[in-house]
C-alpha cells in the first residue's frame, strides 16, 4: 500500500464545497417542501445497521456494502439505501395500528466502489415511502408526487418509465411452464442483453407463436397504447392483473394531469430484487444514469409484518447534474471596520441581518488583499477611520 498524501480521501468519497452545498440545499428544500405539502413526515434512521438484518434484506449487492465490526463481533453495514431501514422501523414501530403511514427521508447512503471514478461511494438520496397502503391510487400518488417535486425543483425535461415485475414473470411461466426455466430469460433482461435474450428464445423448443410472444416483450414500450399490445401476448391470470393495474395507474396519473411525463416499458427489470409490482425509473435527457427510481415492494414482510409499500428515491447528485449549472447570485454584504468604529459596524450589521440581509463583518486589519476579498461580495461598505463620514 502506498503512503497516502494528506489531501487524499477514501475512494469514492467527496467533499461538498460552499457553492455546491448551497445548490444542494436549495434543491433538497424544494423536494422536501413538496413532500411535506403532500402530508409526508420526515424521519431519520441510523447510519449503521446490522449486516444480518438490514444488510441481508437490502437488495444492494453484498460486494457493494461497507462492512465493519462492533465490539460484540456483530457485522455492521453503512446503510446502502433507505428503503430497508424504513421497512425495519415501520414493521417494528409504526404499524401497530394497521393504518397507512406516509414517510419521507433525505439521507446519505453508502455503496463501495467497484470500478473507476465517476461514481460516488457516498451520496444523498431523498425520497418517500407510503407504507401499508396497497391500492393503485397509492402507486399513482407516489409517482405524481415524484413528478410534482421534480417540477418544483425546476426540472423540465424528464421521463418516468413504468414497468411491472408481474408481467414478464407471468409471461415466462405461461410459455415456459415453470419458474426455473425462466431464469435464463430473466437474467438476460436484467443484464440488458437483448441479443442473448433473442438467441436464447430462438433456441428454445417452442411454437413460433410463443417465440414471437417472448420477443414481443422487448418491444413493449411507449404510451397508453402499449397496454393493449401487452394484453395481446398474455393469457388471463396474473399477467392480465398486471396490465389492469397499469391501466388503472394510467387513469390515476391522468387525473393528476401528469401523463406527459410517463411512459410504459415492460422490459424494465430492476437490480432491486425486492420490487413486487409496479416499478419505474426516472430519466433526465442530459444525464447518463437514472436520477431516481421506485416501485411497490413487500420488503416489510422480511421484518415480520404483512404489509406492502410504495416509494421512490431520487439521487440528489444526479438531479443536480440534470438541473445543470447556473451561477448562484452572490447576495452577501461585507462591512469592513476598523477598531475605532467597531461598535458602529456591529449595530449596522445587526440592522441589516434583521432585514434578512446576509452580512459579513470583517476587521480591515485581517485582510491582506482587500481587492481580491471585495470581489467575493455583492456589496461592501467601509466603517473605518477616526470618525463617521456619512
Amino acid at each position: 500500500m502506498s503512503r497516502l498524501f494528506m489531501f487524499e480521501k477514501p475512494l469514492g468519497m467527496r467533499d461538498t464545497l460552499p457553492e455546491l452545498y448551497e445548490k444542494k440545499y436549495r434543491v433538497r428544500a424544494h423536494l422536501a417542501e413538496t413532500f411535506k405539502l403532500w402530508g409526508y413526515q420526515f424521519i431519520e434512521t441510523p447510519t449503521l445497521e446490522y449486516y444480518e438484518t438490514v444488510g441481508a434484506a437490502s437488495a444492494i449487492h453484498d460486494a457493494q456494502l461497507f462492512k465493519l465490526l462492533d465490539k460484540e463481533g456483530h457485522t455492521l453495514v453503512l446503510r446502502p439505501e433507505m428503503t430497508t431501514p424504513i421497512a425495519r422501523v415501520a414493521a417494528s414501530k409504526l404499524l401497530q395500528e394497521d393504518l397507512p403511514v406516509r414517510l419521507a427521508y433525505s439521507a446519505n447512503v453508502f455503496r463501495a466502489q467497484q470500478r473507476e471514478g465517476g461514481r460516488p461511494a457516498e451520496f444523498e438520496q431523498i425520497g418517500i415511502e407510503c407504507v401499508n397502503e396497497n391500492t393503485v391510487s397509492c402507486d399513482g400518488e407516489v409517482i405524481a408526487l415524484l413528478i410534482s417535486s421534480l417540477k418544483k425543483a425546476g426540472l423540465e425535461k424528464f421521463q418516468v418509465s413504468i414497468g411491472h415485475v408481474g408481467f414478464a414473470q407471468e409471461l415466462f411461466v405461461q410459455i415456459l411452464g415453470t419458474n426455473g426455466r425462466a431464469t435464463a430469460l430473466r437474467k438476460f433482461l436484467y443484464e440488458k442483453n437483448y441479443v442473448g435474450y433473442r438467441e436464447h428464445v430462438q433456441a428454445l423448443n417452442l411454437s413460433s407463436i410463443d417465440k414471437q410472444r417472448l420477443l414481443q416483450l422487448l418491444q413493449l414500450r411507449g404510451g397508453e397504447e402499449v397496454l393493449s399490445s401487452a394484453a395481446d401476448i398474455i393469457e388471463n391470470g396474473q399477467g392480465k392483473k398486471a396490465i389492469n393495474e397499469l391501466k388503472e395507474l394510467w387513469e390515476v396519473i391522468k387525473d393528476y394531469g401528469y401523463v406527459d411525463h410517463v411512459k410504459f416499458d415492460f422490459s424494465i427489470a430492476s437490480h432491486m430484487s425486492y420490487y413486487s409490482g409496479i416499478l419505474y425509473e426516472v430519466y433526465a435527457g442530459n444525464v447518463g444514469f437514472p436520477i431516481g427510481n421506485g416501485g411497490r415492494y413487500s420488503l416489510i414482510e422480511k421484518f415480520g409484518k404483512n404489509a406492502s409499500a410504495a416509494g421512490f428515491a431520487v439521487r440528489l447528485d444526479m438531479l443536480l447534474e440534470a438541473l445543470g449549472g447556473g451561477q448562484l447570485e452572490n447576495d452577501t454584504h461585507c462591512i469592513f471596520f476598523s477598531q475605532e468604529r467597531r461598535g458602529e459596524a456591529f449595530i449596522a450589521a445587526r440592522k441589516m441581518r434583521e432585514q434578512g440581509q446576509k452580512v459579513v463583518l470583517q476587521d480591515i486589519n485581517g485582510v491582506n488583499s482587500l481587492d481580491a476579498f471585495t470581489k467575493k461580495f455583492a456589496e461592501t461598505s467601509f466603517l473605518i477611520g477616526g470618525r463617521s463620514n456619512e
Binding site: Y194, V195, G285
Partner: protein, 212 residues
C-alpha cells in the same frame, strides 16, 4: 425529435466494417469519414455525431451517457461488463476468444499462468473449468508470453489465426464467438427512443439481409 444522436465508433479493424454497414442502412456519411483523424465527426444531415474511440472504451462512453449508442465487440462487453443495453448483433468482425499455448505443453501445476488482454474473461473461464490460474495482464502482442516463458497459456482474440500459427502457437480451447454489437445507454434508450428504434430497425434490416 430533432435531437442529435451521439454514436461511439471503435477505431481500427471494426470501424471500416461498421461504416459499410451504416452506409448500407442508408446513412449518408461524408467521404472524409474514412480517413479523417478527427475524434469527433458531426453529420448534421443525419442528426448524428460520431466519436472515435479505442474499441475497448466504447462501452465506457456509452455507459456514462456521453455517447447514446455505440458499436462494441462482444469481447469488450464480456470483459468490461458495462451497464448498457446490447440491442443488436451486427454480425460484423467475426472472431473468437480462445486459449492458446505452445504445442504439447501442460499448464504448470503449482502456479498456472495465463497472459491476456482480457483478465476478467480469462479468470471467469478458468474458474468455470474448475481451475484457479494466475492472470498476467498484457496490452498487446500476447503471443509473445508463452514464447519467452512468461506464461503457459494465453487468452486472446483470434480472427484468422495467422499470428498464432506464425509464432508456433496452437489453440487449445475456444471460449466464445465474438461479433460486434450495437449497445445503447439505458437513459438514451428511453429518452431518445424514436431515433434509436429507427437506427435499430434500419441496421436490423441490413444485418438480416446479409444472412440470406
Amino acid at each position: 425529435m430533432g435531437e442529435i444522436l451521439t454514436m461511439a465508433m471503435p477505431k481500427g479493424r471494426i470501424f471500416e466494417e461498421a461504416v459499410v454497414l451504416l452506409r448500407k442502412a442508408g446513412y449518408k456519411l461524408p467521404p472524409e469519414f474514412d480517413d479523417s483523424r478527427k475524434l469527433i465527426i458531426d453529420v448534421p444531415e443525419e442528426n448524428l455525431r460520431f466519436i472515435l474511440a479505442k474499441p475497448m472504451d466504447v462501452a465506457t462512453y456509452v455507459e456514462h451517457g456521453v455517447a447514446d449508442v455505440g458499436i462494441a465487440g462482444k469481447d469488450v462487453l464480456l470483459e468490461e461488463e458495462r451497464d448498457v443495453y446490447e440491442l443488436l448483433d451486427l454480425k460484423i468482425s467475426h472472431c473468437y476468444l480462445a486459449v492458446a499455448g505452445l504445442p504439447d505443453t501442460k499448464m504448470n501445476d503449482v502456479a498456472p499462468r495465463v497472459a491476456t488482454k482480457y483478465p476478467n474473461v480469462a479468470e471467469a473461464y478458468f474458474r468455470e473449468q474448475g481451475e484457479q490460474v494466475e492472470i498476467i495482464k498484457l496490452n498487446g502482442s500476447i503471443e509473445l508470453a508463452p514464447l519467452i516463458g512468461l506464461s503457459d497459456r494465453i487468452v486472446d482474440i483470434v480472427s484468422t489465426g495467422r499470428t498464432m500459427r506464425e509464432n508456433g502457437l496452437v489453440e487449445y480451447e475456444r471460449i466464445v464467438d465474438v461479433t460486434s454489437r450495437l449497445v445503447v445507454n439505458p437513459v438514451s434508450y428511453r429518452i431518445k427512443d424514436v431515433q434509436i428504434d429507427e437506427l435499430v430497425t434500419r441496421l436490423h434490416k441490413v444485418v438480416s439481409m446479409g444472412e440470406l
